[in-house]
Symmetry: D2
Subunit: 368 residues, 4 copies
């Protein structure tokens, strides 16, 4: 019994404040604003601490959607999960991917197999001193389980991408912890982004049984052999809890889309990208009835300073942050193999895939 | 009758001043210092005006080679062609490629077909007002013809990569021209690098018959439909003439190496990279007796602001120059397809391949 | 007869989207939203082409003010002059300065001398091919005269700061001109910002009699001996006309504020900053009843590459744009002499003060 | 009895590899190469991990001095203390300051008071796991005491600037420690620079009695109330020990120079800069027989994110490192007050002056 239908729309943007593409699709009836569950975007900031293109994009989308949903802009931000990943280095192209979910009115004919499904959940608010530590891991794992249920997915093998939005530390938050007599995992805002991303990814791995549950504070950003093959986590200043979006395939879905994934073992793992494409019927031996919608991947500079034995210089560059380097390079490879720069490649892949590598998921549209 | 033997050694470097790899190969006898004709390198600077890693690398190499050649450091710099390309963004890995040429003592048995050959020539010194204009085009074309002869190559189709080192303008050079009552093509040092690279590339195209010879000042940096498929040009402050290095295949060569090339039509042209690899027996259907030595490619942000219909943001980024973005992205793609980041990807591809694209040449070693 | 009262409020911001400070002042009655004439701000972007903090700040302010003014956000943007200058390098601190103007209800007692007055005007829309040329100079001069009248200022000596917001060229605008058979001053968006700023500044100089009116296209960005001592111009993509804000002192003003200015002859001209402070009773021998409100200054890297005989490296830096360098350095000096980093230091000073220098204006509050 | 004479020569450079100024002074006899004790320089790199202008400058100086001293380049590097501080942001101008020391042949007449004296010492090599910890503090303190003795200075009050060159961690060094079963203070190369600078500065403070000796690992980069008022420390990859250079005034010196210092309490402390200038008879009430030679200062972004109550954005900028911001701003202030950008302003002031501030020392030449 297929109960939900999930839609996916990739929309190019002319700038972080550009909402015209989405508004046009709403205007034409192609998207019912009430069905929008999540919007994942690539914005053209630096992807770092002072990347305001992310919040600007969210603000612009909320303002534009508010009258369509008859809500205040603030209420729109509560209702829809916005995940903006800053940084469109190299050939990467700014765009948003809009995920919609609706109840199926009528059982569709001719759909076989599992189809794209989406589920969401969130954790409680964290204390600053919990970020990057066990509490964040454990609570995230619970939320992943809840989001799987929301997506109608029982088998972890059917989960292909788990996008998480997680908090970071600011000076005020560090001080608030200190005022309580507690030390945070780090005092640097920039470093806290990595801690929060890392602990959140470990939470996914625990939930999906990819690693054992007995991990703790000391493993975060240290035990890089512990990782999830499907986690993609981004930290942002605007929240204190984790928002979890599970993307997978489910028999309860009547969607026209399918998702699958592979894991890049390093930043130049072309084979993994091709495998991910192939797993949904795309790539070299593409099926005629399949069309690429988007690719979701994480990139990072390998912490040991090398890629297949050759030194890289990303971690020593004081002019350009390593996350920008990594997105540019992995973005170049994926865009080359996918034939388009409008792909979602996000930086900071701590515990998301093996060290220096990362998950790569592909959504295809089936024209059946 | 095979008269010369060309060697190619790719050597990883630990920093712009690191000469240990080359010194070890000289020490072990693997390289005869007297046979070194040219050294092309990737150094880890920003590749821009204030990239001092290029001159530092050349200074370190000249100092180290001087006692081996019984020459002063200055004389070494005159004798060997050093071309350092700054910028190892993303997965690109700093390295040098050393080209040697020696007379064949004894006719080798069992070599068939054309093999890697290298030839060099240089133009006369230019006046500052000649840079980026017809004079530079015409003189470069002559030098390319001379370098082909030096390489024992008669057919332009056997030329696969033409590396040129060309001058740029400084305030003093602009003023010297003004004192003669002449205006230079531009007064900006940064812009003059593009003019000089562009005119030099057009000179290659004229010499190889890729374009007609009736081009002039007004075509440089304007008629981007005019280009060479094998030119790779870099401008530097240290010279006032063009140094031309022709790489191709010749029956006069007894080398163990072969070179070929393709042209990337845009920055995500994976097919062209695969074609270049395939043309020397590498890539997907690699021959067992073939081994990749290095790839030489040019990258640039497409001037129209898009790649296959999607907007890129490289030209609007005030934080990172577009040449860095382009090297990172194209480097990511080529490294992914080649399986190594130790490849020579250089920025600034004016009239070197089509707008937004560039030449990609591959050298393979044959184990026959 | 004092007819108007001008208010000035400097408000620190926590980010480009932070409007809480202004909203608090409106909530407490300290600012009547209907009296807001102009808002000048420093936002924490890079100040370059891809600085989206400027438009984000304007969008946030318009959204927040809309319900207070019973207007749409778009109408707010038409009504109030917003000038956001990106770049808070070094010790510079993000803030906005809100200028209000109201009719005086009752003649104040005890005010003597001229007081702060503000006037606004705008030019007609320009054609793209008029930007950076005589038409922009002439029309700007007319608008400056109109804004002086609006401010109740007759004597050019009473004008101490003229802030102008002017257009820039985009590819579409360049093409529109070409379609009419006309060439624009430049085809580069980045360069057009300088042309537009320069011509606008020359318009101020003409209006105030600082230079003769017989200047033309060929003088813009060339005759750097022609400049205004009070012009501060910023170009933005969102308009095709110039908005002119004149700040000076007038007998018609009943304001509690006074403004004066000096001209920095180079980027390290501490004496000029001290003179500007001294001219409104601040600085070393500060009067007890005077309080600093804000300083408005323009900064640039001297085009000849030196400051008082010593080489600077701002123009050769491919990692950081020279405007960022210049703001950081001049901001450090002014902040040190003023005792606060919350000052308005803006980059790009073409024809605004002498080459390498720029105007510096100070507003003081009198507690009489 | 005056036994030594110390000379100070400030020499502008045209690039990191430019040694012509020094060679000219040696050629003219103004500098005896055998008397050179230390060279402190500002080079135009980014001042970060991948700033190769520092080692390039040292390599160029060693190569040029080698024949003058009849030593190998390597031996020159051992003999002379080279401290290159990368980063000439804003108006800062690349230059070197050459310190010479010679035995006095003949007692000079007419010198009264203490004069500039210089002393040097170095620690043993450190293990990677000792960097940023007690061992580095203790050993540095010993070396400072030794360098004071070498300078003929007994009273800590006569010490006005202690320049230290200290090691940093690299991946290999971190791994070497790990192989011994030991953890380093940090695994990040960039962070290790701060740890090493901080511990070295605390060593100075201990040696001079500025703080108690009972400090330990846990105080480094945490107890910012512990600091030296005269320490200036720079970390570099090329050594594993600390080199200590003490500058002060001594009765044993027959030098024409005098040094003094003040402490900037924050990055905009103009009063401290003026006090430092005044303390050697320079500045507003300059003595006719005094001439500025150079200013040596440390700059940093205040760790609490504010300067005198106003937020700065240096620590959140992912595009430009905070050390570059701080040097630009403090450099602008000092250059403005000194009247020249050829001053030595170095970044990274952990435990060197109070948090957000730093020492500022001035050397004046007396024409007696």
């Amino acid at each position: 019994m297929r109960t939900t239908s999930v839609g996916v729309h990739k929309i190019a943007t002319k700038g972080p404040g550009d909402v015209s593409g989405l508004m046009n699709l709403i205007g034409s009836g192609a998207i019912d604003p009430a069905s929008i569950l999540a919007i994942l975007g690539k914005t053209e900031g630096n992807g770092g601490v002072n990347d305001f293109t992310r919040e600007y994009a969210v603000a612009a989308l909320c303002s534009a959607l508010a009258p369509k949903l008859d809500l205040s802009a603030e209420a729109v931000e509560q209702r829809i999960a916005f995940v903006m990943s800053g940084g469109t280095e190299g050939v990467l192209s700014p765009h948003i991917t809009v995920f919609t979910r609706q109840q199926v009115q009528q059982q569709p004919a001719g759909i076989s197999g599992k189809r794209l499904s989406i589920g969401m959940a969130h954790t409680r608010d964290f204390l600053p001193e919990e970020l990057g530590r066990s509490a964040q891991i454990t609570e995230t794992a619970k939320a992943v389980t809840a989001a799987m249920a929301d997506a109608g997915i029982a088998d972890p093998a059917d989960v292909h991408f788990v996008q998480i939005k997680c908090p970071l530390l600011t000076s005020e938050r560090v001080e608030a912890a200190a005022a309580r007599g507690n030390k945070t995992a780090t005092t640097s805002a920039y470093s806290s982004m990595a801690y929060s991303r890392g602990a959140s990814a470990l939470g996914v791995a625990v939930a999906l049984g990819e690693i054992a549950a007995d991990i703790g504070d000391q493993d975060v950003l240290r035990r890089y052999d512990l990782f999830s093959k499907v986690a993609s986590t981004s930290s942002g200043i605007e929240l204190m809890h984790n928002v979890v979006i599970v993307l997978g395939n489910s028999e309860s879905s009547a969607s026209a889309f399918e998702i699958s994934h592979a894991v890049m073992s390093d930043a130049i793992d072309a084979a993994a990208v091709l495998a991910a494409l192939g797993s949904v019927g795309l790539g070299a031996r593409a099926q005629a009835d399949r069309e690429l919608v988007n690719i979701f991947a994480k990139a990072e500079a390998s912490p040991d300073g090398t890629v297949r034995g050759f030194r890289h210089t990303m971690l020593e560059d004081t002019d350009i942050s390593s996350t920008r380097h990594a997105r540019a390079a992995v973005g170049g490879l994926i865009a080359g193999l996918a034939g388009t720069g409008a792909v979602y490649v996000s930086g900071g892949a701590e515990h998301q895939g093996p060290a220096g590598g990362g998950p790569v998921a592909v959504i295809a549209r089936l024209s059946d």
